[in-house]
Amino acid sequence: MKKKTIRERINEILSNRTDNPGEKAKKEKLGQKLKENLKLIEDIIGFSDDVVVREFQLGGKTGIEAAIIFVDGLTDRQTINENILKPLLIEKFSKEEIPLKSDIIKFIKEKTITINELQIVDKLEKLINGILDGDTALLVDGYIDTFLLNTRGWDKRSISEPQSETVVRGPRDSFTENFRTNTALIRRRIKHPALRIKGISIGKYSRTNIAICYIEGLTNKYIVEEIKERISNIDIDNIQSSGTIEQLIEDNHFTPFPQLLSTERPDRVAAFLLEGRVAIIVDGTPFALIAPITISIFLQSAEDYYDRFIIGSFLRVIRLLAIIIAMTLPALYISVISFHPEMIPTQLALAFAGGRAVVPFPAYTEAFIITILMELLREASIRLPDPVGSTIGIVGALIVGEAAVSASIVSPFMVIVVATDTIASFAIPNYSTAIAFRLVKYPLMILATIFGLYGLVLGLIILSIHLAGLKSFGIPYLTPMAPSRLGDLQDTVLRPPIWSLRKRPEHLRTKNEKRFSSTGDDDGYERTR
């Protein structure tokens, strides 16, 4: 034997000491003896308090020993009692009915257990994973094959209203943290056999269940493949929310703009799925992810489609205005006040001048001070518990604003500007986008401070170049504006009547065999008309 170096020896000892139970589960094997198996399992699970082991004998006179293992809290004890223990204890196993030893397993499976979902496993790792998922493990002495019986049940939040995407007229159910509830919510809205829900388990320690939902025959195959591949490639310990997944599979990290949409509403998910997009459900979080996404989606709220198209279009235009205001208003204020006062009507200009006369700071300092103050207020109001939070928000804004004006730190117009700006950013339906645009505001303000309107425009140019380069799973972010797909343009700023929305979005290339890849796609498409 080769002499090992000291370092190698130390490593060996250390790795033996801190042997990862997960590693062990992979390496070890189940044996035939019950007692040994039990010991092995308990060793790996580590004698945790909430793991229950119940040993018993099978009913009848066979004297065969068996045991069930389950985790208290993840299982429905009633089911275990009624549907596992009871039949097994009551059933009269006799040597006549079960000629061969191996048949016991078959017998139990086919004739005894009254559980509606079960598996037979012989791999230790799978068994342990199953136990930790909430199944009950049934081991029979003398057999390697074990049962995993679905007894999952735990406390869960009931379906309630969405927190962040409220609508006036439309369904009010939203996803919960429970995986199966969520997939069921989607199922209930698309009762077609083509709906596919494919599960994967991601996260080394969290082993979170993730489902990729799409419509077979409708969604472009390659988008689904791409998403599947990216998700499977995730190598991380812990997935607790869909946000983590989003960050791990998105195309471009160095941008504030989201490339996947997260939503709480199953009706939106259903609508997106039928457009040809893919939904990702993550166990443990009420937010589902939708991909691929273009920027026009962020203008939409679910309600747009539930009301008449004139109203829907009107609301969308208002939201577009909101985005523009939220992004540019403070910068515009700085440009106009400090660089181009000839732009405003004379009376107004004089009013501005008068209002600012007592303020010791230049316009840009004013703007920065009060916008940052506003951000602080917002952050603060999120932390506070509900009733107090909103009050503080209003009170804070009012009082601070008033006080600031009286103390001549800011001019009254600045307060109006900032208030409008904040309100506008609340009008943006999607939270992540709203934050992104809020963020963009600051560099624009800086540019406006240096160059006035020229700087603001240059900033917007840079922003649009950046946006034009973003892709969401192969689809350019700015579709359908660039590259323009005329058929899709109608649904961007305005909302066309329902009867005019006949075709699915062109850019998703549904039912089309054209190749997609995330590193380069072709913007052109064969013109058949």
Partner: protein
């Protein structure tokens, strides 16, 4: 060949690139320059200049379509020999580089004279050039997309302003329609107007990346006719509002046009700052597209792997050409020289390459 990895352009993007590249500095200077030569017949000069450009453009596209996978730099070197093709290519790229600088200079001059009076010229130039730099590092697809979006922002304000300006026209000043000075001044004006059409030749680099190449003619025409119409209307409106004599005294006639056009009761009164904002976009597209063409062109001539390295190295040259002219009159001189140079270059190139094709007797294609 190299362009294919960068992705493709849609037809509309193609047209957008052409239109955006043209609409820019020309609009700012056009009216004064040409009316000086051809009086009220200036619009005819623009028409002539546009016509010549269209013909040259179509010829270039025809040339390019014979080599569906290669850009003009590549097939140029293959068609003739490495040195001639290379020389022509370098001539184009250097001239594009120069134009970038001149255009940015012109615009910055306008900004400094009217809006940002105290900001040093160099700073304005650098700010614009940095944005151009950021843009030029993108792939072709992004270039296409950005141009596509911006087209709307560039053309709408100009059209809007012009239509409002129509109200202010004193039709008498537009007459006589042919300038009353004879045909020669109009032709001379036509050459001068060519400056406003410069930049269309960059399509020679983008033809291989077009998705449906047989639509190239169609969309390139759409792309060049829009600026042509815009220029003619600008000319007519400027002459109509100011009259030929007054135009001679205005350094920035189109800007002044905006200044004297009252906008119906909008919130903002003096709209010229807003229009300057849109002009920034128009100038940006021109300078950025041409700079991009220059960088990509050089990349292909010297057979480099990617164009991003050159974007930074060439920028100082663009900057130098921006600050090279000492004063306004130098700028006009350079404009003149560049126009003549460009016209000559394009015509010569077309002749040489077509002759080479003729001589070689077949469509130069990779297959044989």
């Amino acid at each position: 060949m190299a362009m294919k990895e960068h992705g493709k352009l849609t037809e509309r993007q193609f047209a957008g690139i052409i239109a955006n590249t043209l609409l820019g500095a020309g609009t700012l200077l056009l009216p004064r320059d040409i009316t000086a030569v051809s009086g009220t017949g200036a619009w005819l000069s623009v028409l002539i200049g546009g016509f010549i450009s269209i013909i040259l453009l179509l010829l270039l596209i025809n040339l390019g379509l014979r080599f569906p996978e290669e850009t003009i730099m590549e097939y140029g070197m293959r068609l003739t020999n490495k040195w001639i093709g290379g020389l022509i290519g370098i001539a184009f790229c250097t001239y594009w580089l120069f134009i970038t600088g001149i255009i940015v200079r012109i615009f910055s001059l306008m900004l400094v004279s009217s809006v940002l009076l105290k900001t040093p010229l160099e700073v304005i130039v650098i700010a614009m050039l940095l944005t151009v730099l950021y843009f030029s590092r993108s792939d072709l697809q992004i270039v296409g997309r950005v141009n596509e979006i911006y087209f709307v922002f560039v053309i709408l304000p100009i059209m809007y302003a012009l239509f409002l300006g129509l109200r202010e026209i004193n039709l008498i000043r537009v007459l006589p329609l042919t300038g009353g000075k004879g045909i020669m001044p109009i032709l001379k004006g036509g050459l001068k107007s060519f400056f406003s059409f410069l930049g269309f030749e960059i399509v020679a680099l983008f033809i291989p990346s077009l998705t449906t190449q047989k639509l190239a003619y169609n969309y390139s025409l759409k792309g060049i006719v829009t600026p042509l119409v815009a220029y003619i209307i600008t000319m007519i409106v400027s002459v109509g509002v100011f009259g030929v004599e007054e135009l001679q005294t205005l350094v920035w006639p189109t800007l002044e046009l905006i200044k004297v056009t009252p906008f119906p009761g909008l919130l903002l009164e003096r709209m010229e700052a807003v229009f300057i904002a849109f002009w920034v976009v128009a100038i940006f597209t021109t300078a950025a597209n041409v700079y991009y063409a220059s960088v990509v062109g050089f990349t292909q001539i010297f057979k480099l792997k990617e164009h991003k390295t050159l974007t930074l190295t060439l920028l100082p040259l663009a900057y130098l050409s921006a600050i090279l002219p000492d004063n306004l009159h130098d700028v006009f001189e350079y404009v003149d020289i560049v126009t003549k140079f460009a016209a000559g270059l394009i015509i010569t190139t077309i002749i040489i390459y077509f002759a080479a094709i003729f001589i070689k007797g077949r469509k130069g294609d990779e297959r044989s």
